[in-house]
């Protein structure tokens, strides 16, 4: 496979766009975070005096001019230091004049990254393994009873609310049949229910797109010609049609992966899964601004990486992109 300069230029351009987008999104997060309540009041409680709150705000850097805070934020973004958490350690260590020991937010968030990657990865792999054969099977037998059944199931997949489905899974598979743990983290068995809950929508969407893309492709003249040459139907579909139908499928897989990454917030919270999503909820609930910024940073980074990978996949699937 030939890869020339146009391909690298394409990737480089995408990378640059990603960096710009990252800065824009993080800047929005920075300004939004400063409008959602006073973290010092959250830490100290309603009973704290105004003086104590002001004191802590000063220590948190929230009393500095906005331009100074923003400059510090951008510098931190460039150097990978998004500040110290307001939650773990700050309340004691900062008050004790020992803020060097307060914990940096990016390592805390990074610590939760593997759990989210495991969950998101398992969800997408499972979804693709289920959805692609379903979509192809349905496309091979359009308007047949199995096709209609798959259509109904895939529609249900995109329509059912994950939150509700997650609770049903817990009651049925953890309580009723005792096949899996209700929640938690640590073993392969713990991944099953949250991944199942998250995979409902991707399975539905990928099945639908795989079916329709393949059907479109199968209606094209070159497929008729291939059939006329006596090439077996299965080979025509799997080798010729599927390759050309792959771009919309890959796009959908990319979109759904992004949906899974951003959708883990609810599922991680329900299942006590110690990932980025659950940490984001915790950080938001106590207005731990630096920690929110660190978790959102990683989430945005994941989304941009997925987009980039999808772009690379396009390039491999579409020679015009690859060779210019």
């Amino acid at each position: 496979m030939k890869i020339n300069n146009a391909f690298f230029a394409f990737i480089l351009k995408r990378l640059l766009n990603s960096v710009i987008l990252l800065v824009i999104v993080m800047s929005l997060v920075f300004f939004a975070n400063r409008q959602i309540g006073d973290p010092a009041r959250m830490v100290l409680g309603n009973g704290a005096s105004e003086e104590a709150v002001l004191n802590l705000r000063t220590q948190m850097g929230l009393e500095d001019p906005m331009s100074q805070q923003y400059g510090r934020f951008l510098y931190g973004l460039a150097t990978g230091d998004l500040g110290k958490t307001f939650r773990f350690g700050l309340s004691d260590s900062v008050r004790a004049g020992n803020d060097a020991n307060a914990l940096s937010t990016l390592p805390i968030a990074m610590d939760r990254l593997p759990a989210t990657l495991i969950l998101a990865g398992a969800t997408i792999i499972f979804s693709v393994l289920v959805a692609l054969p379903l979509g192809l099977y349905a496309a091979a037998r359009p308007r047949s009873p199995p096709d209609r059944a798959i259509g109904v199931l895939s529609l249900a997949g995109v329509s059912i609310v994950e939150y509700w489905f997650a609770l049903v899974l817990v009651l049925v598979f953890a309580v009723q049949f005792a096949w899996f743990p209700t929640s938690g983290y640590g073993t392969v068995a713990h991944v099953v229910l949250p991944a199942l809950a998250l995979s409902l929508r991707p399975i539905g969407r990928i099945t639908q797109i795989a079916r329709s893309s393949l059907l479109d492709e199968m209606a094209k003249p070159y497929i008729t010609a291939a059939k006329g040459r006596g090439i077996p139907m299965r080979r025509v579909a799997a080798v010729h049609a599927l390759k050309n139908a792959a771009i919309p499928i890959v796009t959908t897989i990319g979109d759904e992966t992004i949906n899974v990454v951003t959708g883990v917030i609810i599922i991680e919270t329900i299942f006590g899964w110690p990932g980025i999503g659950a940490l984001t909820v915790d950080a938001l609930s106590i207005r731990d601004i630096p920690l929110v910024e660190a978790t959102v940073f990683l989430l945005v980074l994941m989304v941009l990486t997925i987009n980039l990978l999808v772009d690379v996949a396009y390039a491999f699937l579409n020679p015009r992109l690859r060779i210019g």
């Binding site: 959602i36 309540g37 006073d38 973290p39 009041r41 959250m42 100290l44 409680g45 309603n46 009973g47 704290a48 005096s49 104590a52 004191n55 802590l56 939650r87 773990f88 350690g89 700050l90 309340s91 004691d92 260590s93 008050r95 004790a96 020992n98 020991n101 307060a102 805390i108 939760r112 759990a115 609770l167 817990v170 009651l171 953890a174 309580v175 005792a178 743990p181 209700t182 929640s183 938690g184 983290y185 919270t269 329900i270 299942f271 006590g272 110690p274 990932g275 659950a278 940490l279 915790d282 609930s285 106590i286 207005r287």
Partner: protein, 514 residues
């Protein structure tokens, strides 16, 4: 050969039994599933169970409360005495060691008390403080606790503040947030943030041999996990993953009723739901008794409590139940009288007043179905001619507004929970009925002076003085109580647990009989 091995095994097993610690244990691991992760493991967090679930297994206090009578009992202090009106001496228990091996002596206790109640640290536990508390060493076994004003409740307040290692506070203060070092029956092991925290039975716990111990170690270890979703918490007990699931809803308890092997424990708490309405300094009409009466009687409080508060007990027109000091016998909940309320509103309008739009808020997640409750309040007030704007607010939005003092352009009310672990009206008055009270929107210097004077009294005189103020507060429509919260727990069948209105998750008061 086989005989030799068997003999050796037997000998080893016997040695193991003989070497076992004196405490009972053997109950395996106790798993408690709570609703939220602690934000920190600081001693101050444990002043409310919900803030630091299970932390009282590691950290102890000078005093404790009897779960049945709510009477103050010895814990790390074996006795106490009021030496002067503002000075109390606490005699410490002999031979108690912190989990880091340091001794609990007067110096350690003083460091811990000063750290906990310090205005510089400004921990939220200070919400429960009366006059400022400081501590000094009297002798090795006696610590003096000094208050800025007279505080007859001090021994009771000492139940709120945990005593932790002075060495840690002085040498490793940053560790205080994540590694609690107390004297309790369980030694802190690990806090895996986002997942669980664990502790192991303390074989050297003073309670193993003391006559006045408050429990017995049954479980070898305690693991606290958290799941925000009530259904998942209850499912953990049903599936055998946990023995105790905290804070279930009535629906969950009803579901347990049909299941086998699961029980639901329900008990009243020290926390009440109240409707607080802007007063002095707010929109002029909110300072008018007619308008306040129209609001308070235009809402069907008992209907809301019975139908929307999931698990609750009625309150007799005041914020605390009958066991509280200052409870007033003669008053009742504000009676629902929509016609009377409408007539009052019409009368005010006829006098040329413009009825302000009342902003009714509640804090997201503070109590089940609070959003529905403020919807009902909005509809009922609308029906009597009082316009409302309702909002369920995030804590970050709600909290700053809750502590802000009223302004003339403000017509604000909240529906929110408040706790009174001391079961004494002086604490409620301090927070709610004083000009400087942290969540007070009521400000009457004369009332405040009488409340302050009552707070310094003891015995019947205290009760009567506080009772008179409760009656006056009711007549002046300061706050409308809605109901006392009950807390429900899903537990495995045969689970025994002795706990009071503070709902402490203390493993030495728990055991399984099956």
């Amino acid at each position: 050969m086989r005989n030799t091995v068997s003999t050796k095994s037997l000998a080893l097993a016997l040695a193991g039994v003989l070497a076992a610690p004196a405490h009972a244990a053997g109950g395996g691991e106790l798993v408690i599933v709570g609703n939220q992760e602690p934000q920190s493991m600081q001693a101050q967090v444990a002043h409310k169970e919900v803030n630091g679930i299970g932390l009282r297994n590691v950290i102890e206090q000078l005093t404790r409360l009897d779960p049945e009578t709510n009477e103050v009992l010895p814990m790390l202090a074996v006795s106490w005495e009021q030496i002067e009106p503002t000075v109390w001496h606490f005699d410490l228990r002999d031979g108690v060691k912190f989990h880091d091996g340091t001794d609990l002596d007067a110096e350690a206790a003083a460091v811990s008390i000063n750290w906990l109640w310090s205005p510089e640290n400004s921990y939220p536990v200070r919400d429960m403080m009366g006059p400022q508390i400081t501590a000094e060493v009297v002798d090795e076994d006696t610590v003096a606790v000094i208050t800025d004003g007279i505080d007859p409740l001090l021994p009771r307040r000492m139940y709120l503040g945990g005593i932790t290692s002075a060495r840690q506070i002085l040498e490793e203060p940053e560790d205080h947030s994540v590694n609690p070092i107390g004297t309790g029956p369980y030694v802190f092991d690990e806090w895996k943030q986002g997942q669980y925290w664990t502790s192991t039975a303390n074989p050297d716990w003073w309670g193993n041999s003391a006559d006045d111990t408050y429990g017995e170690i049954f479980y070898d270890s305690v693991r606290v996990v958290w799941r925000p979703e009530a259904l998942v918490r209850s499912a953990m007990v049903e599936s055998g993953e946990a023995q105790v699931a905290m804070f279930l809803t009535r629906e969950e308890c009803d579901r347990f009723g049909a299941a086998s092997g699961i029980d639901c424990m329900v008990k009243g708490s020290d926390t009440f739901l109240q409707f607080r309405l802007d007063y002095q300094g707010a929109h002029p009409l909110l300072q008018d008794q007619k308008f306040r009466k129209a609001i308070f009687t235009g809402i069907n409080w008992e209907g809301i409590r019975q139908n929307l508060m999931s698990l609750s007990e009625p309150l007799a027109g005041q914020m605390l139940p009958s066991v509280a000091t200052g409870f007033a016998d003669g008053i009742e909940q504000y009676a629902y009288d929509p016609q009377g309320a409408r007539a009052l509103v019409d009368e005010l309008k006829a006098a040329g007043n413009e009825i302000p739009t009342l902003e009714v808020t509640t804090r997201l997640g503070s109590t089940p179905r609070n959003g529905e409750m403020i919807e009902a309040i909005g509809a009922m007030l609308g029906a009597v001619g009082i316009p409302t704007r309702i909002a369920v607010e995030e804590p970050g939005i709600f909290n700053p507004r809750a502590v802000a003092k009223p302004t003339p352009d403000r017509s604000y009310a909240w529906l929110h929970v408040q706790a009174n672990p001391l079961m004494d009206y002086a604490l409620t008055f301090g927070a709610h009925y004083t000009c400087a009270g942290n969540v007070s929107v009521f400000c009457d210097p004369d009332f405040e002076a009488r409340a302050n004077a009552a707070a310094e009294l003891t015995g019947d005189a205290r009760h009567e003085a506080l009772e008179a103020l409760v009656v006056e507060g009711h007549e002046r429509h300061i706050v409308a109580p809605v109901g006392l919260l009950q807390r429900a727990y899903g537990v495995v069948e045969g689970f025994e647990w002795d706990f009071g209105v503070d709902h402490r998750i203390v493993a030495v008061n728990m055991r399984e009989t099956k």
